[in-house]
């Protein structure tokens, strides 16, 4: 590295910055915008589900003006548009909002600080990773406005549907979806290589493996999942792109008939192949969504219970076990695809196995609360709510993991309820906790606690009002992809009873979903208001936390630490250590309780920093 004496210009500092903190903030803001867009798509879909076939108020005119009468005639959501929004809601939420927020933003910003590093190991790669992600996001957004509209085959893009969904246009939404995905995957790869190398190579002196904050562990495992699980989807994306553009038949079986005419392709492909390659990524992806969230929750819980995490090592080993097993469970999404029954049993077994480390993590986090002197501030409330919410999400997953019970529940609203409990009140709550928790480090000001609590309370209520009824709908058998919310199905001759409740619930869920959006207004206002008017922090460590990120100036300058930190102790040394003092930061060499170690200047202190 060469001298950087001249201060970098505006572009270098804020736009094409290689500073991990700027990249992290860029990721965070972009991902929050996508979170908003993803929510917006769903809010519009919920109108169609609650009031099928009626023009959407206000936004209907907008849709008509922008997308034309083919997709939104008279402001009514067309089936194609509904499918597009459904597919893109999933894609945007998973690949453009949650993962970039959890890994791109928090991983980038917090990991180097927590391990005492001046930056990421490959800063330029880091910048590229953000911009590749940005281009991928732009491609996804552009796809809404091309003829035929965005991809409409679900976020899973199952073949052959994905290839034949839009036979009119050569370059259709699916094509752009695939190209966008290649960008997003490349971005993830660059990011994960960077995070792993940083954690392994740039840990501060004395920061041994078992002294890493759990958040860093979670990010490490997550990065490994991204590194090894994403490439197969990239391969699958290339294959599907060939099917769509060059007429190959990777995923198109022989004898495919579309619209009454045999499709003019060679055939011989395997639709199951796509599903294997897709879920090889997409199941581990679930753990990419949840592990960083668990990491954030662990940090916030330890800090606000003022005691060490219960069973730190169990947490670490469980995270590793989750990371490993997550590669071997993917086909539990495919029980009903005609896959062999013997292999279903294998995947059922691994699926049950992976619930063990998940339960261990949840249990240790709950036991951390025992006997703590809990501070109920906003980040803590979100972290606390994460526990039962993720618990509901996890436990409702078990019936889906059994190949027998999955027959009834597969592809119903039960599935939607299940994974949204994991991701929405689960991961998103943890991400909110992280935003409220690290906001003062990033900006030097605290977010308003009262409005934070309002945001929390409303979000908790409406999240549950949205997703809890979906379990009932799913158990009634309502299919997850029905354009009219199941109205035609319920009126059919095969349905003796049921679904009547499900249909009524649609209306309630939709209203709760819109109110959930309104409940975010206090957050958005608080977020920007606090930038300028929030209470200034009095010290660099406003939460009285132990980990290294709080040992930097606020906000941390380029290069982070004023002097190279040396770590002398574990990450969560909370507890009464002296009058008015209940924590010992990691970099403090002497504990206030113990007598000061015999310390001849120039020699090593007694508490030896360990290297491995």
């Amino acid at each position: 590295m060469h001298d950087h004496h001249a201060p970098p210009g505006f572009w270098r500092r804020y736009i094409f910055s290689t500073d991990h903190k700027v990249v992290g903030i860029q990721y965070g803001l972009t991902a929050l915008v996508f979170l908003f867009i993803g929510y917006g798509l769903m809010a519009l879909m919920r109108w169609q589900l609650a009031y099928p076939g009626q023009p959407i108020p206000i936004f209907g005119k907008l849709l008509l003006a922008v997308l034309g009468p083919d997709l939104a005639d008279r402001g009514i959501m067309s089936p194609d548009l509904y499918n597009s929004f459904g597919a893109m809601h999933g894609t945007i939420m998973v690949f453009l909002a949650i993962v970039p927020l959890a890994v791109g933003a928090f991983g980038n910003y917090v990991v180097p600080l927590q391990i005492g590093a001046p930056d990421m190991a490959f800063p330029r790669l880091n910048m590229m990773s953000y911009w590749v992600y940005f281009v991928g996001g732009v491609i996804m957004l552009v796809s809404f406005f091309i003829p035929g509209g965005a991809a409409k085959s679900g976020w899973t893009s199952y073949s052959p549907l994905a290839t034949i969904a839009d036979p009119v246009h050569q370059i259709d939404g699916q094509t752009l979806w695939l190209i966008g995905m290649v960008f997003l995957i490349t971005s993830s790869l660059l990011g994960s290589i960077n995070i792993i190398t940083t954690i392994i190579q740039l840990r501060a002196r004395g920061l041994g493996w078992m002294r890493l904050p759990f958040f860093v562990w979670a990010q490490l495992v997550t990065a490994f999942i991204l590194l090894l699980a994403f490439p197969p989807l990239e391969a699958a994306g290339v294959l599907q792109l060939c099917d769509n553009l060059f007429g190959s038949s990777f995923f198109l079986p022989t004898g495919l008939v579309v619209g009454g005419r045999p499709l003019e392709v060679s055939g011989g492909g395997s639709p199951l192949l796509w599903q294997h390659l897709f879920w090889f990524l997409a199941h581990p992806e679930v753990y990419v969504l949840i592990l960083p969230a668990m990491g954030i929750v662990a940090e916030v819980l330890a800090n606000n219970t003022r005691k060490p995490l219960f069973g730190y090592k169990s947490l670490v080993y469980s995270a590793m076990a989750i990371g490993f097993i997550s590669f071997l469970v993917w086909a539990h999404h495919m029980y009903l695809t005609g896959m062999g029954t013997k292999i279903s049993t294998f995947f059922q077994t691994t699926t049950m196995l992976i619930s063990i480390p998940s339960v261990i993590i949840l249990t240790t986090l709950m036991l951390t609360l025992w006997g703590g002197s809990i501070r109920f501030n906003t980040p803590m409330l979100f972290a606390l709510a994460f526990l039962p919410m993720f618990g509901i999400g996890g436990l409702t997953g078990l019936p889906l993991g059994f190949s027998a019970t999955d027959i009834q529940l597969h592809d119903t609203y039960y599935v939607i309820g299940h994974f949204h409990y994991v991701v929405a009140p689960g991961t998103i709550f943890a991400l909110f906790a992280g935003i409220y928790y690290w906001y003062p480090k990033v900006t030097g000001r605290l977010m308003n606690d009262f409005w934070g609590k309002v945001h929390f309370a409303l979000s908790l209520v409406f999240m549950n009002l949205v997703f809890m009824p979906m379990f009932i709908q799913g158990l009634e058998g309502m299919h997850r992809r029905m354009y009219d919310g199941g109205a035609t199905y319920a009126a059919g001759p095969d349905v003796a009873y049921g679904l009547s409740l499900g249909l009524k619930l649609n209306i309630g869920i939709s209203h709760a979903a819109w109110l959930l959006g309104l409940a975010q207004v206090p957050f958005i206002v608080n977020f920007f208001w606090s930038l300028f008017r929030g209470r200034k922090v009095e010290s660099d460590n406003p939460w009285q936390a132990t980990t290294l990120e709080w040992a930097t100036p606020t906000p941390p300058p380029h290069g982070n630490f004023l002097e190279e930190p040396v770590v002398c102790r574990g990450p969560y040394e909370y507890g009464p250590v002296g009058p008015g003092r209940d924590f010992v930061p990691q970099h403090l060499s002497e504990s206030p309780l113990e007598p000061a170690p015999v310390h001849v200047h120039g020699r090593e202190p007694l508490t030896r920093p360990q290297l491995v």
């Binding site: 590295m1 001298d3 950087h4 590093a117 001046p118 930056d119 190991a121 490959f122 800063p123 790869l189 994960s192 290589i193 960077n194 792993i196 190398t197 392994i200 190579q201 740039l202 002196r205 590194l227 090894l228 699980a229 994403f230 490439p231 197969p232 990239e234 391969a235 699958a236 290339v238 294959l239 060939c242 060059f246 007429g247 190959s248 038949s249 990777f250 392709v265 060679s266 011989g268 492909g269 395997s270 199951l272 192949l273 294997h276 390659l277 090889f280 300058p557 380029h558 290069g559 982070n560 630490f561 004023l562 002097e563 190279e564 290297l611 491995v612």
Partner: protein
């Protein structure tokens, strides 16, 4: 260590970290290669699944002599790339230039051969007529990637094509080039005319994707190795150790490209 914040030096860009014994880029490239293993792993997995699922799998569709030639070219280049690195280790910059240049040239040779093979496939045709007869062979004038639609789309669509069918049992390019007697087929009689592209069957589909992706990696290698041979080599005079590391890392990547080919060659050409 002296990683003071003010100077903002990233530790271990050149010197290895004591406990891992690695400098950053060395770990980084292996992580990248691990992800590449999974990328090609998925494609090999697809190959296996498609082959097992196929009612009959076309074999010996490709020229073994050309494939062998390319294998040898890559083997030579993976030796020369390691010699380039060793030359730097011995501080012999001139020899480095020689070996590195040789590697880039060999990589270009590989691509040239590959381009000929691709071209052969896009000038090799399958035709089918209304009465159900079908042939494989070449069109008069060796047109590139013609289809029935493109044949009829011209300003003056031809009324017939002159077709040289392959001798019996020889569907592959580069084998015997002797053709049976030329056929004159009226265009109105044709129901199918297509070159041996990825649309032909799943074998050609996976062949083009696997070799195409591999060729992209070769092109990437040429760019990287060529950069370090040319403008990038100036770093040698400023930071020789760091430059040597870069060459090692680029070499590891190049070996991986060779490694993939070692499996592509038998699975696509031989078996």
């Amino acid at each position: 260590m002296h990683a003071h914040a003010a100077s903002m030096t990233i530790p271990h860009t050149v010197t290895p970290r004591p406990d891992t014994g690695l400098y950053n880029a060395r770990l980084g490239i292996w992580l990248f290669l691990a992800s590449e293993v999974m990328l090609f792993g998925a494609l090999f997995s697809s190959y296996i699944l498609l082959r097992v699922g196929a009612s009959e799998w076309p074999q010996r569709q490709l020229s073994i002599p050309l494939g062998t030639l390319n294998t040898l070219v890559l083997i030579l280049s993976s030796i020369s790339v390691v010699m380039a690195w060793l030359a730097l280790k011995h501080k012999e910059f001139g020899r480095f230039k020689l070996w590195q240049g040789a590697t880039v040239l060999l990589a270009l040779l590989f691509l040239t051969v590959k381009a000929f093979e691709y071209h052969d496939k896009f000038t090799h045709y399958y035709v089918q007529t209304r009465d159900g007869r079908s042939w494989t062979g070449h069109l008069e004038g060796k047109p590139f990637n013609l289809t029935l639609a493109r044949l009829q789309a011209g300003a003056t669509p031809p009324t017939e094509i002159v077709f040289h069918p392959d001798a019996a049992g020889h569907g592959r390019t580069g084998g015997k080039t002797d053709h049976a007697e030329a056929l004159r087929l009226p265009v109105s009689e044709l129901v199918k005319l297509e070159a041996f592209g990825p649309w032909r069957n799943t074998f050609y589909a996976i062949y083009f994707v696997l070799t195409g992706l591999h060729a992209l990696h070769v092109i990437g290698g040429i760019l990287v190795l060529g950069y370090f041979w040319g403008p990038g080599s100036r770093m040698w005079f400023r930071e020789p150790e760091r430059f040597t590391n870069r060459i090692e890392v680029a070499g590891l990547y190049w070996h991986f490209v060779e490694l993939v080919w070692i499996f592509l060659f038998p699975t696509l050409y031989l078996l």
